[in-house]
């Protein structure tokens, strides 16, 4: 019933991680990726372990406070920095799930408010060394 087409599954996995098919290891560069739209909205994403292990001056992260104040920020290799804030227990739950090797994506609106946080855990992701 829930068996799926295996080649299609592997293609889906490759596309979801932004890499060419790479077996059980993610082989992309894992760099911080920042988008910024004309209206001020945008996003930041990256792979925490790969960024930590890499040689470049870039970073990405999120924090939450006891009052559920959430902040996410990132800097890419072009030294572009973005950040967003939200006062949300709902989004703070996403920050709770971030681990040292996770893939993190955050999206913010034109007002700089974090509107979406995605955290991915995978056996394919490199750990901090």
């Amino acid at each position: 019933m829930n068996r799926i087409n295996f080649p299609a599954f592997l293609l889906c996995v490759a596309l979801s991680t932004g890499a060419a098919f790479a077996g059980s290891k993610f082989t992309g560069n894992g760099h911080v990726w920042i988008t910024k739209n004309a209206d001020g909205s945008g996003s930041g994403s990256g792979y925490l372990g790969m960024i930590y292990n890499g040689p470049d001056n870039e970073w990405i992260g999120c924090q939450k406070s006891s009052t559920n104040l959430v902040m996410c920020h990132a800097k890419n290799t072009d030294q572009l920095i973005v950040d967003c804030w939200a006062n949300s227990a709902f989004l703070a739950n996403s920050v709770s799930s971030i681990s040292a090797d996770a893939r993190l994506v955050f999206i913010f609106d034109a007002g700089g408010r974090c509107t979406q946080i995605t955290v991915q855990h995978s056996s394919a992701f490199e750990d901090k060394q």
């Binding site: 829930n2 889906c12 989004l91 946080i117 056996s123």
Partner: protein, 147 residues
């Protein structure tokens, strides 16, 4: 097999299964190995139970082995100041015999991944294409990711 069980009963059975997976390593603490690295077994009711640790699966020499969960929370504040919230989790796993994936919008299921570490054991319960339960096991025995 476990679908009809209460959460407490299920948790005890899971714990017992996990205890059986521990083996002693020479000169080191006990290690927990999942049979087959990624175990995807039928639950007896048409669904699947998936088990794998992020570390052991990554370290596997077989490039097919994979286990992954992605969670997304979205919160948009409307003009009236009211929040609109959605959440979704998508999990995927594969071994040499099969691949499965599941999704869920259940807050409880999504929140089960809160605090998951980089070497956690993930146990997925799947009915159809729905993740009906996600169990996260953290232990001294779970194998950490190698470089």
């Amino acid at each position: 097999m476990m679908k009809g069980l209460s959460n407490g009963r299920r948790a005890r059975l899971v714990s017992a299964a996990i205890l059986m997976g521990f083996v002693s390593a020479a000169g080191a603490g006990s290690r927990y190995n999942v049979p087959g690295v990624v175990r995807i077994s039928e639950d007896g009711q048409g669904g699947w139970v998936v088990e794998g640790t992020l570390g052991e699966v990554r370290n596997s020499p077989d490039s097919v082995h994979r286990i992954s969960c992605l969670q997304t929370r979205t919160e948009v504040i409307n003009a009236g100041g009211l929040p609109s919230r959605t959440m979704r989790v998508t999990c995927q796993a594969a071994n040499t015999e099969r691949a499965v994936m599941c999704i869920s919008g259940s807050e409880a299921v999504v929140n089960a991944l809160n605090g998951v570490s980089n070497d956690a054991l993930l146990e997925l319960h799947i009915t159809g294409s729905i993740c009906t339960d996600i169990i996260v096991y953290e232990s001294s025995g779970t194998i950490r990711k190698a470089a």
